[in-house]
Amino acid sequence: MSIRTEELLVNVGPQHPSTHGVFRLVVKLDGEVITEATPVIGYLHRGTEKLAENLSYTQIIPYTDRMDYLSAMTNNYVLCHAVETLMKLEIPEKAEYLRVIVMELNRVASHLVWWGTYLLDIGAMSPFLYAFRDREKIVELFNELCGARLTYFYMRVGGVKWDAPPGWIDKVKEFIPYMRKQIEEYEKLVTGNEIFLSRVKDIGKYDSQTAINYGLSGVNLRSTGIDWDLRKQEPYSLYEQFDFDVPTSTDGDCFARYRLRIEEMKQSLSIVEQAVAQFPEEGKIMAKVPRVIRPPAGEVYSRIESPRGEIGCHIVSKGKAEPYRLKFRRPSFVNLQILPELLIGETMTNLVTIFGGIDIVLGEVDC
């Protein structure tokens, strides 16, 4: 006797607790095994790139805040960096220091959110609140610096908007050893947990060739053994001055990505530590920039390492106050493309693990 079975079509999302935003995945299930997965995106599309064509460069910066809202500082930077490269601007040293400090702190904050929500996906509730407790400290620091907790609008073409308030650098100095201790605690609480390991080890595996074919970047690429971090490969800002490692792993599974993100937090803290130690108290925070920014006609593509991978900004300028065309290469969008391939043959449970492991931000996917 054969039992008649039917394929089950399940809509995961757009409102689903594990899609971290409005992401929809149409999944065909055979029992609990996925036979086909189709991501449907665009629910959060705001047309940032088109809007930018009618905005002055400074006006575009707040839009970048809302792309990858977990690391708005790096998004601010990539746009400013592109315009500055086009204008061949010299940025004051103090502004660069401030930028590096906030970008690296933002990387820690972003990875903390990832760490917490990833474990929430896996079914552990508590780490989420631990992560948010410590992220709160970073957010408070940013709040003091620029008056915003999430959408900072901190950087400008030519520098940064606000100087560090008195005592701020000391607070950052105090934060570093505190955060290191917390990361140790995280590792004790979670990393060795047998259930956790059984959930993430050897799950969502792919090799370096697949990663390159899909154009992955960031941790998703480094987890396959490729040492590619734009802070090292194409140093921008002051990154050449700092001593830090780029952690890589050859396992290519979810656990490798987990380890690398924890490791990256430690490296970011070490960069911040060096930056605050060398921080120049005196100096300007803005370069001499004309009131209306009109970059010379031309094209530029600048790319930097965001917490999620390579974020790039391509500007075509016709010498006007608005860009003729602006294009963002968003790492979340590119990294997401590997998902359907990874999901074939996996169970519903692994769907959440793999999807969470890629670490996307929907604001950036849809832009």
């Binding site: 089950l8 079509l9 399940v10 689903h16 607790p17 594990s18 299930l29 609990e32 474990l119 929430l120 996906d121 896996i122 079914g123 552990a124 509730m125 508590s126 609140l129 631990y130 407790r133 979670v190 947990n193 259930i195 956790f196 059984s198 959930r199 169970t347 519903m348 449970t349 692994n350 769907l351 959440v352």
Partner: protein, 334 residues
Amino acid sequence: MDNMIEQLSIGSVSLVTLATAALLLIVLVFVTYGIYFERKVIGWIQLRQGPNRTGPFGLLQTVADVFKLLIKEDTIPNNADKTVFKLGPIISFIPAFVVLAVIPYTENLYFANLNVGLLYYVALSGISTIGILMGGWASNNKYALLGGMRSVAQMISYEIPLVISMVGVILMTGSLNMIQIVEGQAGGFWSWNIFPQIVAFGIFIIAAVAELNRTPFDLPEAESELIAGYHVEYSGFRFAFYMLSEYVYIYAIAGLTTVLFLGGWHAPFAFLSFIPGLIWFIIKFCSIVFFLFWIRATMPRLRVDHLMGLGWKVLLPLSLVNIFVTAIVLELLK
């Protein structure tokens, strides 16, 4: 109370009814404050306050929640199987409540002194699974269906090691009567079943957590995968019944663990036996409940296939070995 059931006079029937109402009240109070306690404990573990707004120290929070559930609109999905949909929560709740009858609190305080008490417990608690499956099936929702299916697979897999781990205790006592099982553990904590039956205790606790559908075995309602699992379409009072049966099972399992492994109402040391047995029972009972809440805040969730593997490949053989070893040791000691 035995005699009373035999001679069904009007007086005895009304007494039994009263006792049942009292038990229901105790259970409801337990559930109300069990949930409050759980939220507080998990809140403290997670650097939060827990409920603290409704009533003094948030003590009325659960009451308010239940009231909210009662006055909510009762919705049934369009294409749901209405009869089965309505029946599901009831089938799930009744066995949860009925099994409580055989749990003895002290040598004098119990509701039924069945000589097959343990068997009665095991047989009835299995029925709840059907209620969950009915809910999942009748909802006409894919997530609910997946949750219901998972739930059945999980409960069947864990029912078996749970029951077999009890056999070790039954061998030690030579009885299925709960009161005799507790009496067999009299005289200091070293004669409790937990020590000679430590393997069975381990299996029992793991299987019990799985039976309860709680973290790390909360796959049927895994919120990050299946949103809420089998009760995703339920709201209002029907939803409350599912939640209620879940918490009544916590009560039942904590009571059962106390009776089977922790010596029931017996004091751990002879010189402490001036404290009433009921107090000891409550202390042991509460520590088990606390333990269940504690692991909920600590553990991630298991994967479905690992869960099945653990049940069939590890717990079941281990519990069989435990019976074998227990039987041999008992025979040798005779």
